[in-house]
Assembly symmetry: D2
Homo-oligomer: 364 residues x 4
Amino acid sequence: MKNSIGTSVTMTLFGESHGPAVGVVLDGLAPGLPVDEGWIARCLAQRRPCGAVDTARTEQDRFSILSGVYRGKTTGTPLTIMIPNEDVRSADYQELERVARPSHADYTAQMKYHGFQDPRGGGHFSGRVTAGIVAAGAICRQALAAKGICVATHILRCAGIEDAPFSDVASEAERIEARRFPLILDLEEQVGAAVLAAKQDQDSLGGVIQTGISGLPAGLGEPWFDSLEGVLARAVFAIGGIKGIEFGDGFALAGMRGSQANDPFRMQEGRVVTATNRSGGINGGIANGMPVLFNMVVKPTPSIARPQQTVDFVRGEEVSLSLTGRHDPAIIRRICPVVTALVAVVLCDQLALRYGTDYLAGSV
Amino acid sequence: MKNSIGTSVTMTLFGESHGPAVGVVLDGLAPGLPVDEGWIARCLAQRRPCGAVDTARTEQDRFSILSGVYRGKTTGTPLTIMIPNEDVRSADYQELERVARPSHADYTAQMKYHGFQDPRGGGHFSGRVTAGIVAAGAICRQALAAKGICVATHILRCAGIEDAPFSDVASEAERIEARRFPLILDLEEQVGAAVLAAKQDQDSLGGVIQTGISGLPAGLGEPWFDSLEGVLARAVFAIGGIKGIEFGDGFALAGMRGSQANDPFRMQEGRVVTATNRSGGINGGIANGMPVLFNMVVKPTPSIARPQQTVDFVRGEEVSLSLTGRHDPAIIRRICPVVTALVAVVLCDQLALRYGTDYLAGSV
Amino acid sequence: MKNSIGTSVTMTLFGESHGPAVGVVLDGLAPGLPVDEGWIARCLAQRRPCGAVDTARTEQDRFSILSGVYRGKTTGTPLTIMIPNEDVRSADYQELERVARPSHADYTAQMKYHGFQDPRGGGHFSGRVTAGIVAAGAICRQALAAKGICVATHILRCAGIEDAPFSDVASEAERIEARRFPLILDLEEQVGAAVLAAKQDQDSLGGVIQTGISGLPAGLGEPWFDSLEGVLARAVFAIGGIKGIEFGDGFALAGMRGSQANDPFRMQEGRVVTATNRSGGINGGIANGMPVLFNMVVKPTPSIARPQQTVDFVRGEEVSLSLTGRHDPAIIRRICPVVTALVAVVLCDQLALRYGTDYLAGSV
Amino acid sequence: MKNSIGTSVTMTLFGESHGPAVGVVLDGLAPGLPVDEGWIARCLAQRRPCGAVDTARTEQDRFSILSGVYRGKTTGTPLTIMIPNEDVRSADYQELERVARPSHADYTAQMKYHGFQDPRGGGHFSGRVTAGIVAAGAICRQALAAKGICVATHILRCAGIEDAPFSDVASEAERIEARRFPLILDLEEQVGAAVLAAKQDQDSLGGVIQTGISGLPAGLGEPWFDSLEGVLARAVFAIGGIKGIEFGDGFALAGMRGSQANDPFRMQEGRVVTATNRSGGINGGIANGMPVLFNMVVKPTPSIARPQQTVDFVRGEEVSLSLTGRHDPAIIRRICPVVTALVAVVLCDQLALRYGTDYLAGSV
């Protein structure tokens, strides 16, 4: 599948950072879903660099819908969104045809594509490609919302600053989207200052982000290889900076005994719920009806201005590299709407597999 | 795919804990690979309960190869291994048709299968099904070894006891397999004592395990949705107890800056290597030629003897549950060979996709 | 996928003609479907050789259900059926390790599997493997019947004898299954005599078979690569002897003009129907609600007793081959229940993809 | 998969007849393959309407490569080609939102997409979408040619006129492409006259086309569900007008006995060949090294100018329909380069699966 994900609803990504366009083909979505171009634009804006804390590259993300929408609604046939690349400065990247940025994909791309890859701006490995995910995810998020399903992602931890974990996904989602930084608590200034400090040090920051999903029907998921954890994990590891994922209490479960880690079941207004949610809403790979919660670690952006030791992999020589391109000191802000969008696409696929291809089309 | 994984080499699991048999169909493996029944039996033995620290259920794991092997070698057609179930005491589980063990799959299975699931011993959700993974993985491990690729998994942390992380996978793999508990350091007594202590408290333990892969060619993997991280994560989340995965330094990367987290490239004997391996051998979803390293958290076994609060989901009532079946106080020992086997199957698939279906057959 | 087919409902085949067993794993079927072992046995009996017109090899097809059935109903987890091989005379096949039977898979298997294939009785290429299809299809046929969907296959043409084409699938299905040869008209004696005549000439016969599907909901199918024609064609070409498929009037459409070939739409009791059905119930890859009809050509069985010119592909020499094994002079009788079963599996998959995984479970 | 095909090399189609653009994403192709825009344009020209024998709609097929090509070569990442729609007259199609053209997809689209489909010009069901296949196939055809593999398709039979079947694919391919109609013999005038005659009668023609593949390595293909026949058949049934496919002698095999139908093996210059090729180069689903040959029936274009009886499916009324749009009296000429392109894509996928993702890149 490589650049495609999904079985009933599939998403295919294309594009390079400095090519003519990036984009996405979203296939299998139910017919009749609203496609609100203003909402797509707002989702893309959440992912766009803003001011001093992000890359200086200005992407307007003017997108064109090439197919799959008729009279403002999905047709059910492949929905293609093209986002032309603008403000491209390829000269910044000439050295990267042979010098590997540490912890970036330059060297591995060379080993895989034998020198034929487009090295400009990271080529197909660029975070720029995630714009397509956000555009496709915007449509999926609206479809999920109509079914009472809400997805949101916020910065849980960055530079020692801790946000509150989700306690009520739907209401906190609104708060997160209202802020300049995706946070539940009012910590924007602190996080902004930490990012700027890293930038002034010609360095970068990582952190931990948390995604919450509310409203998912119990019984969604599969045992073994299509477990909800596995399907979600596979999806989010598509995003370059993510190096770990944990569901519910995750790695903290290692220090607990079963009597502490188990989530007791209870009845609440005739519904089965759990008293705690250490399992993150998933048992045996299948949603139990509680909010699905998972954390992901985002490594510090590998592109930093400081001189770094690396190799010229064409000549097989050690060299020093000082990056001069425009880079994000912390992608953690911009990665949150990407993860939300990606999870929304995955959930639409899971729901369509389970309940049929028309499930998301409310009016049908 | 549900109970199948892989694209070129595919593995399909079947069976329930108390049904006639569990088993596996392994399809697409190169023809001509040796199938050593003694080695398969030894791999199954590593996963088998041993003594007081594990469940009292005694599984002999006498297996039959139903297809795909001719004159001791793989034919290239579907290889089926059936492992009959023995020593089954279904009476232990009658209550579970309507009472959900906390943090187990009983309730989610009910929501997915509407009461038609086999509840005896966890049915298809039972760890018993992993015997098929181990058998299939045994064959794959030998094929990988012939290509210089080694996979191993050990307990990294359990009950506050810390094993050393991998520093040389191939040599440590031998040490791990020689011990009763999969550990690099000589900590078997301490870990055994901790497991017994939990058992005496009618409780259970979790922990963190680490997998190492050495010898993987640089360039293996894909950008985006078939990233090596994503493919491996999807696979290991099939295993019920695993609730998190992190590659390289994983969640610790959140506290670093880019200048600390980046792995500088260096030349070593004409080969590109990295000075550190905080990325766990993967950049941009693709192997960089360094050892691939990842940790997984294993939650404490949810089946504990202590009374627990839960619900009768058929009657919709809160009840107290005291489990009387035979259970593992810690599956962390037995999960290690399962993860190793599963990763071996995944790698055979990745290699066949990249280098062709005959790649693993040395003699061809 | 190789030996697997399907997306939501998947079927995986395994086994060799002279190995311990053949079998099938059927995954993703709705939970709660009845599994009637007597009915499975009757379906297997339809495929079994009977008397002088078929191979002398006697297969009892005693099967075991290894997983996926609990209290006589599907659980929704992988359903495995194993059919042990009996009455095996491998000595008959020793020569075939290096001598290619003309128009059989011996030489192509050698080129694909490099000599590691099991050559006994055709190994994995043997029609014996279709027993698994019939067993899995038996369960699917019952599930379809409960939804008012009927699948049947009969001999349309053999040795110059022409059966009537389907005019009412459901009622003709009963007639077909009641006969010793799957025919709509009372032509059993004629067909039987033609088969025996071919046998006496140490030769074999082919023919054309027709499958009819009634009750399929309009709107099932996809444009382009999952067209109903494409999905059904891919499935039936799995069966070795089938070399062509045509939908509706098929190749006869080449001689018509549009005004003759088009099926005019009409209203009938408030329902849209077509006055003719030259398109075989499919327009643009999607079912139009009329019976789906397609013909397949079955080539004459390639294994004949007459001496044939061929090669010893190990020595690279031309040789003469006189087959002494037990062979069918015409598989056309036995292939009909296999196609019906296979089509039933494919339809269950299509329906589950479209309407959800619980669709077939009437009681849910 | 729906609008995608392939496993290692995948092709995804998008677009509607009267939307902004049609196009294709081709993923997984080896890096370093030449992308010759002039050649792509020539392939598109073969599919374009020419003069009186085709639709009056003039498509210039000016295409843009949006991604996946760098310095004139494939990068190995998704290659996207967009072909804007021009000369669109949507007013011609207003009636089709509720009136079903007989034997077209209007009614089935309504049943599948519930009225949300784009009805203009057939929407996503339009033959216009095949332009993407031709563009993607052009690149694949060049890659295959570099490996000595040639694919070609010609009109075998139309309006009673019979072309010669392939006897030497590679040399006949050149002749076919040099002609205005894809024919081996010099029958262009006769076929052109027949098409014009049908047009004057406000009617349309079908026919039989034949594809030949030379140079395919023996051993390519799989038993059972990925048989070469099955994979090719599934692909070509994507094309709306194709209603049947037969390999080798196809339906004529039904009238033969085994002794006539079998292809005797022979040695020729140290190579195993067959004396005849009634099996069409495939045994047991796997290529035997002889040319792969198959015929497809193309039904007469359903859009004809004559008044036809049909229904208004929104109102549920019988109506008479007189089509006024611009239509092909025979798509058989234009369908040939589409089938050739599609088969080329399928073969690149099959070769990459078998021999690895770099196989097609000669220089690697």
